[in-house]
């Protein structure tokens, strides 16, 4: 492979069904055909796992330009075109890496016959479970049977019987009869999750996927096997039988479990979330995410959810509450507690509020254990957003002891608290009693019971915005479901507070906020919210090379050497 002067790899030209297309050298035929707009069906191949070539669904025809053995001169057809030496047997696309001048056929009679054959074989022992199988609607077997199958089966013998409802682990259920033995789940455990618990036992068509009896599939990435299982063999125990996938709306979002910022898809119907799956982003999380990150949507309907605006513990309407809050903030000696859970837009407005009030900004860290894969040591999604927005210029502290001091010495008597439970970051309930407290949060907490004004906030699933992950990648999340009745997005609440304080109107939606943000902050220069691509924007990070961020090596992140 050669590189041109710009350091980019030279593309090579191959021919897919006679059409020339330029692709990166060395990619396999399935990826190359995709670039040419052709689908080569496959089960066992997965772009992020090793190639095994056992399903045989990607069989295709391959040929290379013929050359004279001695001289290397091209051999030509009668009409002067390059003669192609077609390999008589079909070859699998997943293990065929393209070379210059290669020809592949994805639509010949032979390829059609191969696909019909493999489809028929896959369905020979496959149970007629579609009506009760969760995979229906997103099942490779269904899709390829429709697109490439013969349309009928000639199998009239008895089908093999295998265990049908095995609990593989706390979150995964296995139906062995549906398994097509592609081995994706086994390879995932060995190569990505580093928990080698799955394997095949027995032999031939009795081969069965299983876990050793004394072990479980219980690591924090077990649900990824459900994602990659092309059929309904591995299913999510939580999602099982809950909803047909074609009724679900897909919304792109970002996991808030840690600073990894795994890209996700939130699946919902009529305002209810049913499951979360990873969304592919080769710069952030490949095609994976943690199990614990998926469960975060439970907070949407948790009992602890704050569902009404309150003044002094009594329900109030939003306008009055915001007015009351603004009043308290403007009158008092105010400090602002921001959060690394806030989105970039929310942090931007919080900074402006603090600036206007001449308040100090406090921000706490929430560090914890990382797993070296997709759970980082920073358990918040937007610490770097806080840096970029100027909410802090050093790593957030664990305790807000300086704030506690200020309260005790009565230098601060009013607090605007965004998404933080102060009793967990070094403040006592006694100290909270001393101050006027405006709290913006989603779940109830010890702090909430001391709030003079309670402003219920929306979870990441109920609003729009952006986060900046540990690699300084700006990523967008979209609203999937509406929040509880009467609640408002954080940006709207904060914007209302700010504009009431300043007397000037201020943008209150992410799209309009970004106009202001991109102009006033050089780090976000030139960015327009609506055109932030689905896979994010890489921001300039060198300004923060001197910060000793806590994250260790993970899937897509290497800690930089500390400078300065």
């Amino acid at each position: 492979m050669s590189e041109n002067g710009n350091g980019k790899k030279e593309l090579v030209e191959i021919f897919v069904d006679g059409q020339p297309v330029k692709v990166l050298p060395g990619i396999n035929a399935i990826e190359a055909a995709k670039i040419a707009g052709k689908e080569i069906p496959h089960y066992c191949y997965h772009p992020k796992l090793s190639v095994v070539g056992n399903c045989r669904m990607c069989l295709m025809e391959m040929g290379t330009p013929m050359r004279e053995r001695e001289t290397g001169e091209p051999i030509l057809e009668e009409d002067g075109s390059q003669k192609i030496g077609w390999i008589p047997k079909p070859v699998i696309g997943c293990s065929t890496n393209v070379s210059p001048g290669m020809h592949i056929k994805t639509e010949s009679d032979l390829v059609k016959d191969c696909r019909e054959g493999v489809m028929e074989f896959l369905l020979v022992n496959h149970p007629l479970d579609c009506p009760i199988c969760d995979q229906a609607g997103e099942c490779s077997l269904q899709e390829y049977a429709m697109d490439y199958g013969r349309g009928y089966s000639r199998y009239e013998e008895r089908k093999n019987v295998k265990p049908k409802r095995t609990r593989l682990g706390p979150r995964v259920t296995l139906d062995d009869e549906r398994c097509v033995l592609c081995s994706r789940c086994i390879r995932f455990g060995q190569e990505i999750a580093d928990q080698d618990v799955l394997g095949f036992v027995d032999r031939g068509s009795f081969s069965t996927l299983t876990c050793h009896p004394n072990k479980e599939l219980d690591h924090n990435y077990s649900l990824n096997t459900v994602d990659i299982c092309p059929v309904g063999a591995l299913t999510s125990t939580d999602f099982r039988f809950k909803m047909r996938v074609w009724f679900l709306k897909e919304s792109p979002s970002i996991c808030t479990e840690s600073s990894i910022g795994a890209n996700t898809t939130v699946w919902s119907r009529e305002g209810v979330i049913y499951r979360i799956t990873p969304r592919r982003n080769d710069a952030v999380n490949d095609t994976w995410m943690t199990d614990s990150g998926r469960e975060l949507f439970n907070q949407v309907v948790a009992d602890t959810r704050l569902t009404s605006f309150q003044i002094g513990g009594n329900s109030a309407d939003p306008t009055a509450s915001i007015k009351e809050a603004t009043g308290l903030l403007s009158k008092g000696r105010t400090a602002v507690v921001a959060s690394c859970h806030q989105s970039v837009e929310e942090q931007f407005i919080t900074r402006k509020i603090a600036d206007h009030l001449n308040s100090s900004v406090y921000i706490a860290r929430h560090f914890g254990k990382g797993d070296g894969l997709l759970l980082s040591e920073d358990h918040t999604p937007n610490t770097r957003g806080a840096f970029l927005n100027g909410l802090t210029d050093s790593l957030p502290t664990e305790d807000l002891s300086s704030l506690a001091e200020k309260i005790d010495s009565e230098k601060v008597d009013t607090l605007l608290v965004c998404r933080e439970d102060l009793t967990r970051v070094g403040l006592s309930e006694a100290q909270l009693e001393k101050v006027k407290l405006v709290l913006l949060d989603t779940q109830t907490s010890a702090t909430a019971s001391h709030a003079d004004v309670l402003l219920p906030a929306l979870t990441v699933f109920e609003k729009n915005g952006t986060f900046v992950n540990l690699n300084f990648r700006l990523q967008k999340f979209s609203q999937a479901v509406p929040g509880p009745a009467g609640l408002l997005p954080d940006t709207l609440i904060l914007s209302k507070i700010l504009s009431t304080l300043t007397g000037e109107s201020f943008p209150d939606s992410p799209a309009t906020i970004w106009k202001s943000l991109s102009q006033s902050n050089s780090k976000f220069k030139g960015i327009d919210f609506s055109s932030i691509p689905i896979d994010g924007i890489q921001l300039e990070k060198s300004a923060f090379d001197h910060i000793d961020f806590p994250e260790k090596q993970s899937l897509k992140y290497s800690p930089a050497a500390i400078t300065g």
Partner: protein
Amino acid sequence: MPEEKRIILKYADEPGYTRDIDCYLEHGGYEVLRKSYKLKPEDIHSEVMDSGLRGRGGAGFPTGLKWKFLDRKSGKPIYLICNADESEPGTFKDKQIIHKDPHQLIEGMMISAYSIQAKQAFIYIRGEFFDGARILEEAIEEARAKNFVGDNILGSNFSCDLVVHRGAGAYICGEETGLIESLEGKRPYPRIKPPYFPAVLGLYQSPTIVNNVETLCNVKHIVEMSGKEFAKIGTPGNTGTRIWCVSGHVQKPGYYEFPCGGLTMGEMIHDLCGGLLPGRELKAIIPGGSSAKVLKADERFSGKLKDGTEFDWSIWDIPLDFDGPAAAGSMSGSGGIIVMDNSTDIVQALSNINAFYAHESCGQCTPCREGVQWMRKVTRRMCAGDARKDDANLLLSIANQIEGRTVCAFGEAAAWPVQSFIEKFKDEFEDYPANGSVSSETGDKQLV
């Protein structure tokens, strides 16, 4: 009557010949080893290339060429593996060598190991050869004691240890990459080629040569007499001797060693094996282990050979070498000739073969895993008395969907019997009564 030419089996059945090293040494054993260690490894390779030796395991791939593909520049250790997993139905030649003349194999292996500069050598022997494994291990220790195996062989600076590794009842371990996976301690799933050609990415992802028992023994004789002399035995492209195994409906089943092309099928069956059983007529012959396509008794085979000469043979005329059975549309495979006379229920015979392949399929790839078991279920149903007219076409169609589509040659091995049996005995399959099996009436022995 054509005479055997016993090179490999020269001493194996000689009265008084024993397996121990002393007997072997008395018969000139390990002299060739001494000779070869005075040569350069490349010289030994040249001899093997000149000899035209083709693999005796079943594929008939030129051994010198296989050694040529070895990646000698990778920096990784090189391994030599002897495939002693003899499991092809109808084949029992390697068994003779292992049990009766083990030191010949060891000598052949240590010469080959030296030529390819192997770091370590293995003999993968099928688990059912309990005695064979014990015999080989004893022989290796005898050889080690005399410095023919292990560190600094014959005082040279070439060291190579020899380890016997037992299988446990899987035919797929005879496939070279399945063998390698089994040797690595994993399920014996054959590897996809490309990229896992053993000569480049073999055992422990290092360059590896896998050769059959008989092939490795031939290396000794090649070095002894020179490649060019060896090439004079047999015919061009079919050099050296081969040990043929004959079983089934003949008077004297057994193993016989002949120069390639040194006799015809008819001479083998009628002269060497004493002909068919009394009162019987020939129905079919499988010439190269159950994977080979079956030949029908009254078939005629005609066409042009590789050198351009025309041929027109009856089944008896087929020369026993590599190219002969291949020209007749089958293959010499492992050299296992199975003879079936007219007492054979041909549908049951195929059902028996299908049961073998269904049992031995490793299950890795879709066409073999599902297709072979499907074919087995169909023929079993037919033999159980529920045959349908369309079964013949169905079986053929399934076999055609397997051939050429699988990870390894097991697909072909399972498909060819079905294709050839149906093609040549179509009437019997289509007329197989839909009610009641025929075996008790016309069949001599139960085959299923």
